[in-house]
Symmetry: C2
Subunit: 721 residues, 2 copies
């Protein structure tokens, strides 16, 4: 068997560009570098020195990749090609001999193809010429089927899926994507306490990185026990992470641990005729820029905001992870919250898309994301949020097929009533809450399902799949209708938790009810009823994870309860600070005492004391106090509804794709400066607001709207209620 | 986010065994080692020193794998675990610290899990204890979802697909599957002709391996031009493969080429102040045993059989490949024929299943196998053949899901008439034949489609998928019915080639008509009509590839035309031998002259002179002359219908899963000795056959049947017609 000699033709889908001087960057199939990196990161978890990999399918990159682009040159130029993998380079379909990575491209219109094979990591290329450079305008495919049959007919190019290449910031040929590592910087210990052959090192606050031992002398064993708390570090039997070094011969050396760990304390125990001089660390961090800010008249809130930012910083790594001590995995429900916090802090799109791509993985779909029903839905919702905040249509267009196959998987698992119910192998999570029932058809899951279908409809539209756009819309409306017809209980003034055997259960939980508010699924009347009978009702089971407190407080903020939420924030997050927290926790139950706070999952130090979902004040303060949120994708339009919630003043910045929105607000004056889009400042004021060059629009009662345009500094005088 | 602490439980699907002393072997997820190896092999193709990868999707292994087995020990024993990848080892759910690969397993019933992560090659393990060993009774999964939720409930194990591990013959911990290489042996040149700075080396016949240069002295460049013919080796501009060495400094050394090549001749051209003493080679071969044999009274047939065997030997490598010079890829249509030849020579199941697994790859299916419509169908048919010859149910059970998704792909691509027609991106191949129309609905493709559906029905039954078994059966019957209602032309006494725009075309080709015979789709009357009006009709376009001659001659043999076929064989394959062939070719057209025989695909030396599909006499002589073929899976029952076809005598062996069937046949006597199953010797004889201990059953006319049982030597005296 042999295929006929093939030639590459320039065809309609090829992007023909007039070249201009540009910077080359490494490129790959979008999602593949990300999948490799996620595999590496998630397989670095250890549990008491045991390798602890994820318990779901991990995907692999495509091993054979074709990259191409058509250039139109005014003058000949030489290009140099670098590749991760075995490659061939073609100019207008003619291949260059192996071992040669330079080529003169003549003037005129020419197509360059680079085909790369790599089993160990994603095929990637770096092409450098004067005007010809590799970047994300190149097209890639993993199933090039261009060929000419014996009749000379070219097969239809549409059979091959070409996507725009993925890239990040690998802008030098020597900077291989497969060798990516987060940067580190040296940090010293705050105190070191030596007792016999043990050194207890305190870095002063929660941190993350590689411990370094200096001046190791002698022979024997050194065991390092890490602790987010002092108790954990001092517990040889229960510390969740540890390292062991063995020196069989006499040494005089330094040593850096191979794996990064989360800790504040390290207990270094020398066993044998061995000792150390000191310990320090290499702090490992993601190189993202902090753009958002918030300060206000309340010092505790300022402290909460700062510790939230530090908590998010520690959990923002190659991906948005859950917590730095234990899992260090990418969990969809956790990530969704980090994305939202990110929109009010870094606004770093690559970390968001990288995390979403890693979570979604590849077809075929064989399980829910992280095996969790709700986590699949959060993934869809996170795409919705991403589009709203960033306006990045390209991502949707490229990943719509993977959204579709994920939704097909969900649709194929509906029960006979068309509802989503955990099937064999599915994990219905919702929240860590004692006794929470996962039986039957749970209202919360249907609500997330409806929102996911709405996302699909939106994205189908963007991907120009009009038929499915309307199909998803219908499905979403149907599920939404069912949420109310099946779960709304007029007596209870709430959605009930679930149906079992086709009948409503008696149980009311907060989950579906709080999401119904900020999804805007409830009528105004229902919102008020739910606020009173569920959210502010102490007889409804309380939430003890910052994870669900995020949504609970969001729902209350969406109902204008900023004063109440501010108090809650001070009490809940302030409660952790009172207990000495230097980062926010996975779970906090104010009723617990002492070392009880450290335990979880039946393990003495099982709880993570630095969990991304603990950092939600970043989001709440940005979105519901400074009050900035997009109303059209990418902040083309947005609202600013400052709410002091009892503060005397506050000020801060909210990042957008095209610069920041700066807000200052006191009880008398609001100052706004925006770099982007068309904003609408919405305020309530006892008197009509005034200010230079401001057009105030009264919208009824004491409500006013003022249009905010980019580049202007607005000063609005008003009188707070 | 964090999962609850999980424990492994012994559950129903776990295989509980009473251990007995066994040999350990490396194990992996079935198909994954094979996919890695196929990627490596197929990416070794070069075209004039340019890397030439396949032009379809290449798959990757699963990167994270869980292996387990439950053992019941009478005494404690120590096990040692080796892994390709980062691993953790668990005893009854409790993990051992990283870096430790030994464990004492106590007496009693215990579950051992090894979870391995490896991005570069398939995760694999080797476990050695006294009675505990890794082998293909271990179970593997790539999506272990065992966990216990907070209510303490174990999720249903059935959500996770557990398969039996794959293995081959890596029986030593140091013999890593990822490092697999075919063995080599040293061969010397037959003649070396030196002319100025050129050495023309002749190895006497077609061969394959790594050329070695001895006594390289000086500095400069050495170019090696390989030739299956002398003309090719001497053509610096057109030899299909070449190697280049550069020595910038003075050397005195030997050198072995990095990539294996196909050649009989090597032209070594020294450029600069450099020379060599001599050249030899490392012959690279698959370590399979030749079990089948055939000799007869005709020396030309014996020569044809021997050269066929050598041709197949050269093309039997890590996989059954197409040809050794050029593609060196795994092509489904080519492979099917090699499998059939294999059943009459090596009977090596691992090479068959490895090739089938490599061809099928992974889900999702995004294209036909090798992008060719007919090649997808051949893949199904090859599974059918494999089961018939080997009786290997396990393979079917394990791979049925991949068969299903491949068939789903086909079913989703039927046209409005329910027929298969090449769609955008599909290659409709059929054969290399000038002017062969690929337009519209081609009868040949429908016939292969029907047979594929029959295979699916059979395999669904084996996999206990009764619903689909009957569904596939119905679909097969429907397509088969359509083949006759839509394509049979009573005037032409044949199936026409195709329908275009819903109407029969005038064209009759041999393809569907010859397959209809040995698929047994025709009535006896139709068979005779087709034989006369198509097969033996010179006005129907002739076949010029051994590829389709295979089926043409098979159809004639199935019609009892052994005498005619013997003459054809001597003329066609004998024709190649007359032209000096030392292996059989990709194409042979007796009308061509001289160097015309070397050209193909518009290239002077484009033709492969050693192509697996050229070796079909192995199959024809075994199946239709010795006449041995299984009638129930794995030779549980089989027939022997010796047909001399004009020979004075013949004898040979046909391998089966449980030993050989030996046949001797002259015009007067037949001798049979079989190691397996229940055979039925079917003969025509002018007089009633006689022999010691033989029960002869007259079946009408001059036909007789004699039952053959294992271990008995039968001598039957008869009188040939």
């Amino acid at each position: 068997m042999h295929r006929v000699v093939f030639v590459y033709l320039c065809i309609s889908v090829c992007l023909c560009v007039t070249a201009s001087a540009q910077k080359a960057t490494w490129i790959w199939y979008p999602g593949d570098f990300e999948i490799n990196l996620a595999n590496k990161m998630q397989n670095r978890r250890t549990d008491r020195n045991t390798f602890f990999p994820p318990f779901w399918k991990m995907d692999a990159h495509y091993v054979l990749m074709d990259f191409h682009k058509v250039f139109d040159l005014t003058a000949p130029e030489e290009i140099t090609v670098y590749a991760e993998g075995t490659f061939n380079l073609k100019l207008d379909g003619n291949a260059v001999e192996s071992g040669i990575n330079k080529l003169i491209v003549p003037a005129g219109k020419h197509k360059i193809n680079v085909k790369v094979w790599n089993e160990a990591s994603a095929p990637a290329i770096f092409v450098q010429g004067k005007t010809i450079v590799s970047d994300n305008t190149w097209l890639v495919t993993f199933e090039d089927k261009e060929w000419i049959d014996e009749s000379g007919k070219t097969s239809d190019i549409s059979a091959t899926k070409w996507l725009n290449a993925g890239s990040w910031n690998f802008n030098d040929p020597t900077q291989l994507p497969s060798a990516f590592k987060l940067p580190t910087k040296k940090l010293t210990a705050v105190t070191t306490t030596k007792k016999n052959n043990e050194w207890l090192v305190d870095f002063g606050k929660e941190t993350f990185g590689f411990v370094q031992l200096h001046g190791i002398k002698g022979s024997g064993k050194i065991n390092l026990y890490y602790g987010e708390s002092k108790e954990e570090a001092l517990s040889v039997t229960d510390a969740m992470t540890l390292d062991r070094l063995t020196f069989t011969k006499n040494v005089q050396t330094d040593s850096t641990m191979i794996l990064s760990k989360a800790f504040r304390y390290v207990n270094i125990v020398c066993d044998g005729n061995i000792s150390i001089d000191s310990a320090s660390m290499l702090y490992e961090y993601a190189d993202v820029k902090q753009r958002g800010s918030f300060t206000c008249s309340d010092t505790l809130i300022n402290k909460i905001y700062d510790v939230s930012k530090y908590t998010l910083e520690l959990n923002t790594r190659e991906f948005f992870i859950d917590g730095i001590k234990r899992d260090r995995w990418v969990w969809s429900g956790d990530a969704l919250q980090s994305y939202l916090m990110n929109y009010y802090s870094y606004f770093d799109n690559p970390t968001v898309t990288r995390t979403m791509m890693a979570l979604r993985g590849k077809d075929p779909v064989t399980a829910h994301i992280n095996t969790i029903l709700d986590y699949t839905f959060y993934w869809f919702i996170s795409v919705y949020d991403y589009y709203l905040y960033t306006g990045d249509k390209k991502f949707i267009e490229q990943f719509y097929p993977r959204m579709q196959s994920m939704m097909d998987y969900c649709l194929s698992r509906r029960n006979k009533n068309g509802l989503m119910e955990g099937l064999s192998g599915d994990w219905t999570f919702i929240d860590w809450a004692a006794g929470l029932s996962k039986k039957g058809e749970i209202s919360f899951e249907q609500m997330l399902f409806a929102r996911s279908l709405e996302t699909m409809s939106l994205c189908a539209d963007i991907a120009n799949d009009k038929t499915n756009a309307s199909e998803y819309k219908k499905l979403a409306a149907d599920i939404k209708e069912k949420v109310f017809s099946l779960y709304w209980n007029q007596q209870k003034n709430a959605l009930v938790h679930s149906r079992v055997d086709g009948r409503q259960t008696e149980n009311v939980t907060r989950y579906a009810n709080m999401f119904g508010i900020f999804f805007n699924y409830f009528t105004d009347e229902q919102k008020l009823a739910v606020k009173q009978h569920v959210l502010l009702n102490d007889s409804i089971q309380k939430i003890t994870t910052p994870y669900m407190r995020f949504y609970e407080l969001e729902a209350l903020c969406a109902m204008g309860e900023q004063s109440y939420v501010l108090k809650e924030m001070k009490s809940y997050w302030g409660g952790m600070l009172n207990l000495g927290a230097t980062s926010f926790w996975e779970e906090y139950n104010p009723d617990k005492k002492g070392a009880e706070h450290l335990a979880m999952y039946g393990r003495k130090f099982g709880k993570s004391l630095c969990h991304a979902w603990g950092a939600s004040p970043i989001y709440l303060l940005g979105k519901y106090y400074l009050g900035v949120s997009p109303t059209r994708p990418g902040y083309e339009a947005y609202t600013i509804q400052p709410q002091l919630g009892g503060l005397q003043w506050m000020q801060g910045k909210v990042p957008t794709p095209n610069g920041d929105i700066e807000v200052y607000c006191s009880t008398k004056q609001i100052k706004i400066k925006s770099a982007t889009g068309t904003g609408t400042l919405k305020i309530k004021s006892k008197t009509k607001p005034t200010g230079k060059d401001i057009i105030v629009n009264a919208t009824g009662g004491d409500s006013y709207e003022i249009t905010i345009l980019p580049g202007v500094e607005y000063v609005v005088n008003y009188k707070v209620f």
